[in-house]
């Protein structure tokens, strides 16, 4: 008796559970595809009979709404199964953590390209110079308070209102010092601007050397690049561009740089004046005392190369060791350079400034 009753009770409980679950279960032929990161559901099942949908308004709307309800139920069930927590303490709203979106959508803009290092950055890497974090406020002794390093109310007073300009030892006493300071500032600003533009041009050139985005007009290309790309496109046929018709404004003969030959020779009886000047120049170079090979430059280049190798080697070792890099100056380095300089000075006493190179 008891056993029967227990079975009946269990069966009744299961019935109740199934009843509850029925309200949220949906029967579908094919499973839906979900992308919860985008709150997206894709239903591959063929839609309900086209005839039914072609019919009158309200019936179609009802059918569409039923379909939408089923799909939304499935999507919401999946979303409620995600790990959820109460945001903002115990009383806050229930918040589910969404996974990363999986549906691949095209980007808005191409991914950023890393810009090549500037001349200073290359030098700093070579020498192992690190950036020092400067404090934004500096103690001003005169005003006895913390002031900005530069800008409005800077420490050290406004440079435009400086009323005293010392004449440095060895300068012309008639010279206007204020004018000199202004001129030097202008020159510094101009030099900085020039270097910045040079770095930009170098980055632009380096970026262009990679034909990674092949043959698509981006609107940021200039004439030279487009010409080069057009030339590449014309030559990329099976017969290497021999039978390609030309565009209306394209030049007839392709101005090839070498004319198909690797070495170029001047014609025998051509420009007599040019030939004469060339021969005279050759004789002049042969007879002059100044060597054609600039030894200073060559030695500096060699030293730079060695330093670069040493820095690269040390850099590898350092990254293995940790962040605490070299802080002290190595005495050996300056020894090398001064040694070279002393050597050069012995060779060319009248050579003038050698270290300036």
């Amino acid at each position: 008796m008891a056993a029967v009753r227990v079975e009946a009770v269990l069966a009744a409980a299961e019935e109740q559970e199934a009843e509850k679950r029925r309200s949220i279960t949906v029967e579908k032929e094919l499973e839906l595809e979900f992308d919860l990161g985008n709150l997206l559901a894709l239903d591959r099942n063929p839609p309900p009979a086209a005839a039914a949908l072609r019919g009158a308004g309200p019936r179609r709307e009802a059918l569409l709404r039923a379909l939408a309800r089923d799909n939304t139920q499935l999507l919401v069930s999946r979303l409620w199964e995600l790990p959820a927590e109460r945001a903002g303490g115990a009383g806050g709203p229930l918040v589910a953590r969404l996974p990363e979106p999986t549906f691949r959508l095209p980007r808005e803009k191409p991914p950023p390209r890393p810009r090549p290092p500037t001349r200073w950055e290359q030098f700093a890497r070579l020498k192992g110079i690190r950036r020092r974090r400067k404090t934004s406020l500096v103690w001003d002794e005169q005003a006895k308070e913390w002031r900005r390093r530069w800008g409005y109310r800077r420490a050290g007073g406004d440079p435009a209102r400086a009323w005293l300009a010392e004449v440095p030892a060895g300068a012309d006493p008639e010279e206007d010092q204020f004018a000199r300071l202004r001129r030097e500032k202008r020159e510094r600003v101009a030099r900085n601007e020039l270097n910045r533009l040079r770095n930009l041009a170098r980055a632009h050139r380096a970026g262009r050397a990679v034909p990674a985005a092949p043959l698509h007009p981006t609107g940021h290309q200039d004439r030279e690049e487009l010409r080069r790309v057009a030339r590449v496109a014309r030559v990329s046929t099976a017969s290497l561009g021999r039978f390609q018709p030309r565009l209306p404004k394209e030049p007839a003969e392709p101005p090839s740089r070498s004319g198909g030959k690797k070495r170029r020779f001047e014609p025998l009886l051509g420009n007599l004046a040019a030939e004469r000047s060339r021969q005279l120049e050759l004789l002049r170079d042969m007879g002059s005392k100044k060597p054609v090979l600039d030894i200073t430059r060559a030695v500096n280049k060699q030293m730079r190369q060695e330093e670069a190798e040493a820095a690269a080697h040390k850099g590898k070792k350092q990254s293995q060791r940790g962040k605490r890099g070299r802080r002290q100056q190595r005495p050996g380095r300056s020894g090398k350079k001064s040694g070279a300089r002393r050597q050069q000075q012995q060779q060319k006493p009248a050579g003038g400034g050698t270290g300036g190179r």
Binding site: Q16, E19, K20, S23, I24, G37, N38, L39, L40, A41, L42, D43, R44, N45, P46, P47, A50, L53, E61, L64, R65, L67, A68, R69, N71, T72, Q73, L75, V76, S77, W80, E81, A84, A87, P93, L94, V95, A96, R97, L98, E100, P101, R104, L105, P106, R107, E108, K109, P110, P111, P112, L197, L200, H204, A213, H216, P217, T218, G219, H220
Partner: protein
């Protein structure tokens, strides 16, 4: 390039430019809604409703712009560059193509894909007298119908619509705030777009039962012309930089049953000095220890 050599002179200008430059994790895409030369009331109403749906991430141009996107794309690209929008919806009307909508997206300020749709029936937000959901709600998107997978043009349209209505990408979402759903059905050459407000009703268990209430714009669309990007350009636009790929954790593996295994790499151990259980009987006698140490006495004598 002017943008390169002219530096911004104020911090505000610098922030403005930084917002627009290409980034690893991109901003949410903005949409521009443009009226064509002869846009009629229907098309204007459609644009207004879609602007309401996409509110903070859309720009609605009030004036009419006399252009033809399929013939000349330069004016669209100019607008996109000025307002930093990569999605657009252009509405126009003429005898040959009544109630025309051109939906499209840009890559690097150039047109990537454009699909022309005709609006056959339109029910606006104002016509449906029900309660609406708050502005800026992230909608749930559902696509029904096998056409969206079989046909290449429909597949691109699906991708375009997801891109358009997706909204910002969020790490977590409030479960009670799932109020808005956009349902697209592709049947018989037509695409039915319906928007519903979601009501969560009590069911016996944790997961609520869904009831839908019609709300918001509903459109019956027909596909007309398309201008899809070539395969390699599309692939180029899909490319994600490597830095965004999730870093794989090494030395961790899973087996079929869900157990996680880890690998630890240890140095070589000297097994003779291994510490095992203490057994009193095996303890070294003082005499043996002495012999090992090489004659030094444990007690050192104090030297004077």
């Amino acid at each position: 390039l002017i943008c390169c050599y002219r530096k911004p002179k104020t911090k505000r200008a610098k922030r403005f430019l930084e917002k627009r430059e290409p980034k690893l994790n991109e901003n949410t895409k903005n949409a521009m809604l443009i009226r064509g030369g002869n846009a009629n009331l229907t098309v204007t109403a459609v644009l207004k409703d879609i602007y309401a749906v996409k509110k903070p991430f859309a720009v609605l141009y009030k004036k009419k712009n006399i252009t033809r996107p399929f013939e000349d794309q330069t004016s669209l690209e100019f607008f996109s560059k000025k307002s930093d929008c990569s999605l657009f919806l252009f509405g126009s009307h003429n005898k040959k193509r009544p109630n025309n909508l051109i939906i499209g997206r840009m890559f690097d300020y150039h047109v990537l894909d454009m699909i022309e749709l005709g609006v056959e029936k339109f029910v606006s937000l104002k016509d449906v007298k029900n309660s609406k959901c708050p502005e800026g709600t992230k909608p749930m998107l559902i696509f029904a119908g096998d056409m969206f997978d079989v046909n290449e043009e429909y597949r691109r349209l699906k991708s375009l619509l997801i891109d358009f209505f997706r909204g910002p990408t969020v790490p977590s979402i409030r479960l009670a705030g799932l109020e808005y759903v956009l349902h697209f059905t592709a049947v018989d050459g037509k695409i039915y777009m319906r928007s519903y407000k979601v009501l969560l009703k009590k069911s016996g268990c944790k997961i609520p039962r869904i009831e839908l209430e019609e709300m918001g714009p509903s459109l019956d669309l027909v596909m007309r012309r398309t201008h899809l990007a070539s395969d390699d350009l599309y692939k180029l636009s899909l490319k994600q930089p490597k830095a965004l790929k999730p870093k794989k954790k090494k030395n961790i593996s899973h087996d079929v049953f869900g157990t996680t295994y880890g690998r630890i790499h240890m140095q070589k151990q000297d097994l003779s000095k291994l510490q095992t259980r203490k057994m009193k009987g095996l303890k070294k006698r003082p005499a043996e220890k002495l012999a090992e140490d090489g004659g030094t006495t444990p007690k050192k004598s104090k030297s004077a």
